[in-house]
């Protein structure tokens, strides 16, 4: 009964989403407050119903109810409980249900915590949300229904892809979905503004926190996915420019741009139309990501679904929402009022530069991701656009952006002084140069490119500290005075500095792991040793493993540095018994910020084992940086004061229009 009740709740949520999409929209057009008020109650009810439905599916997984097809396909009664639960969204149907759950959760949050949002804007936003929800609910019910039943009931389930039996899976998709779906709120606000034909201070005040939250979740989700691929797939790589990774990276780039332009919107009421366009673009890219991953267009570890009808279905949703949004944009954008004015060299100008570079980078990734697909569809020719393309295009575009980052916060609103900003950044510039020169002296010219990367990251990190140091008058006032000023700084200023610092940390990790990565492959027998960098790794022997759902073999290695044992590592080869699939588990040991990574290849009958060892310099900084960025976002999000961008008063220059 519980399963069927969950199924019915889902259907009822669809019926309510249709009502909630239609009545408030009608009310907003007729200026009828009672009809507009329907939006909030139905939004909350949709959330309760979808949550019920999700709980029912989770129940079916927990009690291993094999009368549910989805449970049979993705679970097994012997699986550890945590993977039974994560199995709920570890498959196509369940993950789409999670997607909708998060969507309606956000809708309910808007409905409940927006007392100061104009009723009409709220009604329009919630009805757009309801339409998105309805589209995906129809998709779930028609082509990806997790509640399909089986009779007679099979005795056992077919387990879960062992690659996905991992804590990473339990966390990575929900985070990413929180990010993707969070973008739907900004999208709904953008569409609401276009329908309403007006966009004002309340709009900006609402869009920015939602974008910030979505961006934070996206950052965490992508970092998590990258770390998961790093330790689970056993290739030792952390980013592959895989189309599925790109699918999550594009919305991130565009959300980053949106985040920055929304600041301009909120503080200065400029860049309105551009911000709306970015909001539409960001959610479109999220939908595109969902389409690419879910349709089976791409084959990768993520493609649980390779059913063409689903692909076509998502494509239709994609066309309706993206096409509809852009048509609406084309028709209505001209009627929106223009915002504030600013000079090219100003905080706004810096943010425009940021936006241009980020969207250009995003477009590059889009081309690199879609071109091979389009080519294959048109000519049948299979090409792969891999790291070289992105290194040559994406990399050079990031360099000017990263160089420009520290300047931004030093420029005043409306009109800035680039020379003064440069003077304040002299220390950061000096630090970067010092690192570069010192590195060149020690390592010589071959390392120049890598050292440039390191200098860039130092520039970013010291630059972001300089901004805070300048604002608290560090060194120019007493320590107590600086402390007082630091505590008085708005948390959003701290958030900016922390997030920019995080970017620097990630850049350092990327440069380190790319330039000073070493890799050794050898065939070892027990007792033999190989060396990598300063470490010598000895193979001790085999250790048999067994757990409830797999058997396997670990190989024990002793790691020595200068004769002293510093670690023992046990990479594993597992054989999952139910789907009879072998997997490899790498062993990773962290030294400082760097990691030693050992992964097993084939094991011969005579004990000769293929061993791959990587030394990854500073690799953990990549993910630590992402965590710092997210922390910066959270700091900024916690600052709910009103944002006022005080313009620098004009002396003589005449500002130019923003758009």
């Amino acid at each position: 009964m519980i399963v069927e009740l969950g199924h019915y709740a889902l259907v009822l949520a669809l019926a309510l989403a249709l009502a909630g999409g239609t009545l408030p929209l009608w009310g907003a057009l007729r200026n009828d407050t009672r009809l507009m008020a329907v939006a909030s109650t139905t939004a909350v009810a949709q959330f309760i119903l979808v949550a019920l439905s999700f709980a029912a599916l989770t129940y079916a997984y927990v009690v291993s109810d094999f009368s549910v097809l989805n449970v049979v396909q993705n679970s097994h009664s012997l699986k550890p409980m945590i993977y039974k639960i994560s199995g709920v969204w570890g498959n196509h149907e369940g993950s789409m249900l999670l997607w909708v759950l998060i969507l309606v959760l956000f809708g309910a949050l808007v409905a409940l915590f927006s007392a100061n949002l104009p009723l009409r804007l709220k009604a329009l936003v919630l009805s757009v949300q309801a339409w998105i929800g309805a589209a995906f609910l129809i998709f779930i019910l028609i082509s990806s229904n997790p509640f399909l039943r089986l009779h007679p009931v099979p005795f056992e389930g077919r387990d879960l892809n062992p690659l996905l039996q991992d804590v990473g899976l339990a966390i990575h998709p929900p985070l990413l979905y929180l990010g993707y779906v969070g973008c739907s709120i900004s999208f709904a606000f953008a569409i609401a503004a276009l329908i309403d034909g007006r966009i004002d201070a309340a709009w900006a005040r609402w869009v920015r926190p939602w974008t910030l939250a979505a961006w934070g979740f996206l950052t965490l989700g992508i970092a998590m996915g990258s770390y998961w691929a790093y330790y689970e797939l056993g290739w030792g790589g952390w980013w592959f420019w895989d189309p599925v990774e790109n699918a999550s990276f594009m919305p991130w780039l565009s959300a980053t741009a949106l985040l920055h332009s929304a600041i301009v919107m909120e503080k200065r009421e400029a860049l309105k139309i551009w911000t709306i366009l970015l909001a539409i673009l960001t959610f479109s890219l999220s939908l595109l990501g969902t389409f690419l991953v879910r349709s089976g267009v791409l084959t990768s570890v993520h493609a649980f679904a390779t059913d063409p009808t689903r692909g076509i279905f998502i494509l239709i949703i994609l066309c309706i929402f993206i096409g509809g949004a852009f048509s609406l944009f084309a028709a209505r954008a001209g009627t929106l009022s223009q915002g504030g004015l600013f000079a090219p060299i100003s905080r706004e100008g810096a943010l425009v530069l940021n936006n241009l570079l980020l969207t250009a980078a995003c477009a590059t990734v889009l081309v690199g991701t879609l071109y091979p697909l389009a080519l294959e569809a048109l000519t049948g020719e299979k090409i792969s656009v891999g790291a070289p393309f992105f290194d040559m295009t994406f990399g050079p575009m990031m360099v000017p952006l990263l160089i420009a980052v520290p300047f931004g916060p030093f420029l005043a609103w409306k009109r800035g002084d680039i020379v003064a900003a440069g003077q304040r950044l002299l220390f950061a510039f000096g630090a970067a140069m010092a690192v570069m020169i010192l590195g060149l002296a020690l390592m010589g010219t071959p390392a120049a490119l890598a050292l440039f990367g390191v200098a860039l990251s130092v520039w970013l990190m010291v630059g972001s500290i300089s901004e805070i140091a300048f604002r608290v008058k560090l060194g120019r006032a007493s320590l107590a005075e600086s402390w007082r000023r630091g505590a008085g700084l708005p948390r959003s200023a701290w958030g900016t500095a922390v997030a920019h610092f995080g970017v620097g940390v990630t850049v350092l990790g990327v440069v380190g792991a790319t330039a000073w990565n070493s890799e050794e492959i050898a065939t070892l027998k027990p007792g033999e040793a190989m060396s990598i960098g300063a470490y010598s790794v000895t193979m001790d022997g085999f250790v048999p493993l067994s757990a409830s759902n797999y058997t396997g073999t670990a190989v024990r290695f002793t790691v020595r540095e200068g004769g002293n044992v510093v670690a023992t590592m046990e990479p594993e080869k597992r054989l999952y018994t139910v789907p009879n699939t072998p997997t490899t588990e790498a062993a990773i040991k962290t030294f400082g910020f760097s990691q030693l990574y050992v992964s097993l290849g084939d094991i011969g009958t005579d004990g000769a084992t293929v061993v791959r060892i990587y030394w990854k310099t500073l690799v953990t900084l990549i993910w630590i940086g992402a965590l710092i960025m997210t922390a910066g976002g959270a700091l900024s999000l916690s600052d709910r004061r009103l944002r006022v961008g005080a313009p620098k008063p004009a002396r003589r220059a005449v500002p130019v229009p923003a758009e």
Binding site: L12, R34, D65, L121, D200, W203, K414, L575, L642
Partner: protein, 380 residues
């Protein structure tokens, strides 16, 4: 029935979420954007004054910002007029709530749902008879017999290994204790008793179990099971070196085809990594020896695992029949088992194998074919 009642309640609640806001005027201050914008601009002016007091911005900037915000405040339009119909004006909208929402929901549900199917959690399936003459029935028969004749030592002895396989270790301890008491102590009975005690206590070799193993060794110093568990208990009590030498002695004295050899090596390897490659490393599934995990799994066997065990027995039967196919009753049992387990494909495959294997013995094959027809496979 309960399902339909709960569904009706949910539907009514859903309709109410549309009806209630239609029935009362909303308590909102701001409907259109103008009013909200003005209050935000006023808040912005307050914020600006606070920032100025804290010295976050200079006087000139504050003044410029103040002028800018004030200009926006003046420009913000007055709120558009809104209407709100009286309670009776929403006839169509109410029809949507009361008729369309339930109609869409129920209609679509009847199309995609399966209201006639109940939940089937795996735990509820323990009571389902797994097969004709299932293990449970056999046990029940023997238990009834023993309740009437508690002094039948042979009966207890027959029952004890079945208890062990089903993971009913406490019952196994009781059965073996009775067998020992009635039939006398032997190396075999003492070591089995010790094993049952060990498993019953969650794979810990207790003092009582150790005493049983030691007693078994007095009858037969080479008793493998006792030596195995004693070595295991040494490792458990932290005597690593002694455990290693005990395992080595056990392995050295073993014939090369001893079925427990793999398990012993695995235990040894946990104490010291081996230089020989374990079977699992190079080939696909290894013969499952009683590894520690197996022992642990057996100790907390659920109906699901019992099911898995039954499937293991079926697999064993299939393997035996492939080796010695001249057993029509065996084939019949195998086919029936596959059908009961719902694995029609495998049943068909087994029938095909039987046909090939029994090509030379048409008399036996006829028996198998007849049985297959009864069971309902191989009609084509």
């Amino acid at each position: 029935m309960l399902l339909w009642i709960v569904m009706a309640v949910l539907t009514a609640a859903a309709s109410l979420t549309v009806l209630i806001p239609l029935g009362r005027a909303p308590r909102v201050q701001t409907v259109a954007s103008g009013g909200a914008a003005r209050s935000i601009y006023r808040d912005q002016l307050d914020e600006l004054a606070r920032d100025r007091e804290r010295g976050l911005i200079g006087d000139a900037e504050a003044e410029a910002a103040r002028i800018e915000i004030s200009r926006r405040l003046l420009n913000s339009e007055a709120g558009a007029t809104t209407s709100s119909g009286t309670g009776s004006a929403y006839r169509i909208e109410r029809l949507v709530a009361v008729i369309a929402v339930p109609l869409v929901a129920i209609g679509l549900y009847l199309f995609v749902g399966s209201p006639q199917l109940a939940d089937v959690p795996i735990a509820s399936r323990a009571t389902e008879p797994a097969a004709e003459g299932s293990v449970d029935d056999l046990i029940a028969k023997v238990e009834t017999h023993l309740a009437a004749n508690p002094e039948d030592g042979r009966g207890w002895e027959i029952l004890s290994p079945i208890y062990m396989r089903l993971g009913r270790f406490d019952d196994a301890v009781r059965a073996l204790g009775n067998a020992k008491r009635l039939l006398g102590s032997t190396a075999e009975r003492e070591s089995l008793y010790g094993e049952a005690l060990t498993r019953a206590s969650g794979d810990v070799v207790t003092d009582e179990a150790r005493a049983a193993f030691e007693k078994a060794l007095k009858f037969d110093p080479q008793d493998i099971r006792s030596r195995f568990y004693l070595a295991y208990s040494l490792a458990q009590s932290g005597k690593k070196d002694e455990a290693i030498s005990a395992w080595n002695a056990l392995i050295d004295s073993a014939p090369t085809d001893a079925p427990w050899l793999g398990a012993a090596r695995a235990e040894l390897a946990k104490l010291q990594p081996t230089t020989t490659v374990p079977a699992e490393a190079t080939v696909t599934p290894a013969a499952p020896g009683p590894t520690q995990a197996d022992i642990a799994a057996a100790a907390e066997q659920t109906p699901a695992e019992r099911q898995a065990m039954i499937e293991g027995m079926v697999g064993g039967l299939a393997a035996r029949l492939d080796a010695e196919p001249a057993d029509p009753q065996g084939w019949e049992r195998l086919l029936r088992a596959y059908m009961v387990l719902g694995r029609t494909d495998e049943a068909n495959a087994a029938l095909a194998r039987a046909r090939t294997a029994l090509k030379e013995r048409p008399d036996l094959l006829t028996v198998v074919e007849t049985a297959a027809r009864d069971i309902g496979i191989g009609k084509d």
